[in-house]
Every structure is written in C-alpha cells, then in structure tokens.
Symmetry: C2
Subunit: 380 residues, 2 copies
Amino acid sequence: MREVVIVGADMTPFGKHLDRTLPGLGGDAVRGAIGDASAARADIQAVYSGNVAAGSLTGQRIVRDLGLGGIPVVNVENACSSSASALHEAVVAVGAGVHDTVLVIGAEQLTALGRGPLPLNRDDHEAANGQIMPAVYAMRARRYLYEHDLTPADLAAVAVKNRSHGALNPYAQIRTTTTVEEVLASRPVATPLTLFQCCPNGDGAAALVVTATPERFSGPPVRIRASVLHSGRFETGFRDMTTPQITVESARDAYEQAGIGPEDLSLVELHDAFTIAELLYYEALGLAERGKAAALLHSGETTFGGHTVVNPSGGLLAKGHPIGATGAAQVVEAVWQLRGRAGDRQVGGARIALTHVTGGGMAGVDHGACAVHILERNAA
Amino acid sequence: MREVVIVGADMTPFGKHLDRTLPGLGGDAVRGAIGDASAARADIQAVYSGNVAAGSLTGQRIVRDLGLGGIPVVNVENACSSSASALHEAVVAVGAGVHDTVLVIGAEQLTALGRGPLPLNRDDHEAANGQIMPAVYAMRARRYLYEHDLTPADLAAVAVKNRSHGALNPYAQIRTTTTVEEVLASRPVATPLTLFQCCPNGDGAAALVVTATPERFSGPPVRIRASVLHSGRFETGFRDMTTPQITVESARDAYEQAGIGPEDLSLVELHDAFTIAELLYYEALGLAERGKAAALLHSGETTFGGHTVVNPSGGLLAKGHPIGATGAAQVVEAVWQLRGRAGDRQVGGARIALTHVTGGGMAGVDHGACAVHILERNAA
C-alpha cells in the first residue's frame, strides 16, 4: 500500500441550516477542500461520500452541481461513522493504486427530517424496547459513576471543557461556555444525562482531498498513518457496558498500524455524543487507566496546555453532530490543527492526531461501526 | 492488484416476502453463499453490503444475527447499483491485499416501505417535475421508436423474451410466459410502456464470497476479470436520451480491463428495468450497432441457443428488482451459469459473463451510478 495523505480539507460551520439543501452544504465543503489543495476538477478521480438520512445518491447529488461528473461515486452509510468509513474506503483505493486522488465528503442535514419521530425498522428490537441512544448512554453513565464512586458533576465537567473549546471555534454549533451548575440544572433527558450533556442535532458538511501524489497540490500534506474500521460483536447476557469493546479493538489496531501509542498523541477528536462517552473513550483509547478517566479530565491534561488535547474543536457536545458529516469533520479539524491553522483553538506543537467515531452501538452491544484514523504532520 | 475470484454465491427467490425482515432475507443469502464456499465464519474478514431503502447499518443488522461480528462492515448505497458497487469496493480491498476473503451482500425489502408515496428530497428537481423512472424511460422509448422506425410491439418482444427466461428460473418473481399481444394490452403506465414492460417491485437478497485465496474454499472459483463503477455527467440542454453514456463508458472500461470484447460474451445480465432499457443497453454494451437492437432481439441471438444470451435469469422484468439486491443477484446468476449449475435456464458452454446495473439516471442525465462486471469460468 502506498502512503496516503490529505492535501485539502474544509467544512461548513455546523448548525441549523434550515434554508440550505444537502447538495448546497456538501458543495460548500467540496469547493473549499478542492480550493485548499489547489486541485483542478480533473484531478479528482473518484468520490467517497458519507451520509445517513438524506436518501439515495447523495454523493452524486452533491458533486453533480459542481460539474464533477463521469467518475465513480460511492455512497457509504455507517451511522455516525459514515464519512469516516468513506475516508477508509478512499484510503484503501488510493493506497492500492486504484486512484491517485479522490474526494471524501461527509454531509448531513438533520433539520430536513422535521421534528416528528423517525419510523422504526421492524427488526430494530433495541429501539423498540426503548434503547435509544440517550437511554443507552444513561445506563452506561449510571454504571460508570457507581463503579468508580463518581458523581454527575464529574460528567458535567466534560461538557464544561468541550463547551469552553467550542467557544473558540467559529465552526461550532454551540459557541458559549457553561458551568457545572448550569449543565446539571439543564433539562433532564435520561438521568443522569441532562440536555447540556447530549450533543445537539444539526446540519453540516466536510470534505477532504486524499492523494498519493501530494507534490501535485499546494495544500501542506498531512499523512494518514492509520485507517481502521471495525464493527462489533453481538452478545447477549452479561457484559460490561462501560467498556466499548469496538473502540478498544479499533484503537489497538490503529496504534499498531501507525507504530505509535496513546502517549504520542498531541490531540484527539473523539465521539463525545454524551458526556459519559468521553470518559469511556479516554479509557478505550488508552489515554487513561480503567476508572481513571475523570481524574485525567480534572488534571487538565485534555484541555489546552495539556499533554493530549481532547476535542479541541468542542467535540460533538459543542461543535455539533450532523451524523454523516461528523467523521470527516473531525479529520478536517485534525488537518487544520496539524497544519497550525486552527486559530484561537490551536493545539501548540501539534504533531500527531487521532480521530474516533463510533455509531450504532446499543446497550453495550457493539454491532455498529467504529472508525479510528491517526494523522501526522508532514516532517518537512 | 491480485486476481480476485468468487467462491461462494447464493440468493433468495425474489418476490413479495411480506412476512420476512431484511436481516432475515439477507441472512438466508449469506448462509447460502458461505455454505456454497464451505467457508467458516472466521474466514470472512470484512463485509460490503448494498441496500437503498432500509435505513442505517443494514449490513451490520444482517450479519449480527449470524454471529459475524468484530469485522469491518461497509454499507454502500448507489441506487440500483448499490450491491454491484459493494462488490466493486470488495474487489478493490481484496485485490489490494487489505483483506483475503470478504462477503458481499445485496438486500432490499421494498414491500416494507408500504404503498404510499415516498417523500421527495427537496433538491430532487427531476422527480419534482414528474421525471420519475417510468416517465423517463417512456420518453426514451418514444424517441427510440421514432428514430428507428419501430413500434411498441418491438418493445413488447423484450418482455416476451425475458418472461420466457424467467419462467425457467425458480428464483424469479414472475414465472409465467406472455405474448406480445398480452404485453401491449396490459395496463398503461407511461405510454408507450405498459405494466408488463416495467419491472415489478419486490424483496430479495443475494450474497457472494469474494477471495484472493480460492484454494482454501470448495466452491469452483469464478474469476472477476473486470470491475468498473462510473457515475455520470450532469448536462443541460440538448442531449441524446437514447444513448446511455454512463453505460457506454462503463462497458468500454470493463472490456479494456478484461481484455475482451462484446463478441466474447456467452451471457449478459443487464438492467432491463423497462423493455426499452434492454434495447438501449444492447447498443451501449456493444452487442448491437446503433439502431439495430430490435433486429438483434428478433434474430434470436439473445435468447437460449443464441450467441450471447441476455438475461437468462429473466432479468429485472421477470426475475424482479429489489433495488439493492439486484446487482449482487446478477452476479450470483452469472456465477451459477459459469459453473454450469443454472438448471433449466443453463446457457450452454457459458464461459464469459457480463453483468450491468445502472441507477439514478434521469431524463438522459446520467448522474447516477453504473457498475459493470465481467466474470470468467475458471480454466481448470
């Protein structure tokens, strides 16, 4: 496999873009990424597009209006990991030499779905039994707090940190800081999770130009050191709902691919869909020992000035979570950070970044999809 | 790229499976394909699953119940080309050495959508202007008949041929023969297309075991000589709606990859969603000169005993068209034919097969996805 790098990256601000269409949002990100790389349309040999909810041929609908026709477009759906899975497919194709330069898109417009309930699949036994995401993470949170003698205030501190990061990020959906008291006093969603502990729904898009021939482009290249995609195992009966096994396995494989360890990471963009998630993923990604995630958080080592800044963008809790866009947008943030172009939220001396998304895992049953990428600043 | 072969293939009968779930249908096909290859679950290193309408994580939902956990699952959506695009992704990954053996699934349960109208995407200008598929193909048909001095009876002959094939296929949704008179007298859908000239909606699933290490498996290997995926160009203004450019380009690339020409094909499974489609694709695939498709059909060279049997399965018109399942099911049919196991519909001496699906092309604007595969019987 050839070395694969990113030479172009852009995204739209995340938020409620009620007056836009999905192709419009996606097109903004694509134009930005192509412009960032100073690529010509003719350089793009294939498109890998991640989306969950917008129906058929979303990638084609996005690139059609840009005149990017006559090339393969693959639409990838993997719940929250959709556009990270699209990036994985792109890395395989470029690494294998099938294409030299491709475009990766993540786009989602959740506001277009309206506010009513979504129809259930007939075979979705978990959701039919109330195991929707906030409920699942609430169970995980209760168990984690109980096992490690913590309180809801420890959870709230995750939101406080990530909101403080998001306040520095012009691309974030929520740009105000908050306090532990405010987080705990916000509307209950699924006890112990309150509203400020759940990521907001929104719209947005992100795009990446991925290539094996960076010398053709102007964007400072960022190396993809690892690209790992995993799905989980279906298990019934007793299992540890505070250990997200799918993330443990994905991270293990990613560190092995990259030949690095968690101690080498300057920054991490991880899947903090709920406050408890960030604590669980500290441990699953090897940033903290089991039960020590809250201590790591309180130590300040995961905010600016710390050893590994986690979610400098604000994460899902502040930046937002337009599902199909999230994975690609995390990578855009990592690229900007590694290039030293992240503005007020720049992680000083950023050299290696890890991005992590995981989706569809229910009740400790990890049958969804998890994608981990490790990126490195070009040595030059 | 390594040589990639198919060692396992199976599908469910196509039809209205009102009492089934999508994971149930998919599981039947997967178990069949794995059994066909005498593969163990541990041999399967990744899953590429095509589906259009069943929501999120369909591949995971299918393999979960089979105990196929902990491996990457990529869900691919490309309209009618979804599972053929999934096969393309599988061929790239196996060819590149990322995986040795993977599973490809195509599954769709259109009956689960109910009978009401589907919601329109806000940016779907074509459908909003009435350019739904029967209307688009009706326009193409009118133009084609006008240009080449043909009549609706020439179209009807396509349905007669494919229904005569489907009557021999226990996996076909429609298993009765018909006549030109009956086809023309069936309910009008979009003039000149009548009901019997439009493929039926239905449910079904297909699965393939794709590998670079066929010696590990028992299924007689079938070589994948070409795997091509194309999207189209967006054009406005005058264009020739009787030339499906996306198919022309995909076929050209596939013949080049395989190093063969249309004259080498023993059989073709092509995308006859409407009768006119088969005639247009004869020309686009190089089986007939421009304007000579009906003559080829009437010559008998595309039915049993002819030079290249087109749609021995009955095609979409008789076998049915559960969108996401169709591409993989065409390849299953081709594998069975090349192994000499196609029962009453066996193409004598079948050596090379081409499969073709194309989706999402509106009003002569080919911005969808077209996939062409060329398969060859193992020399052994």
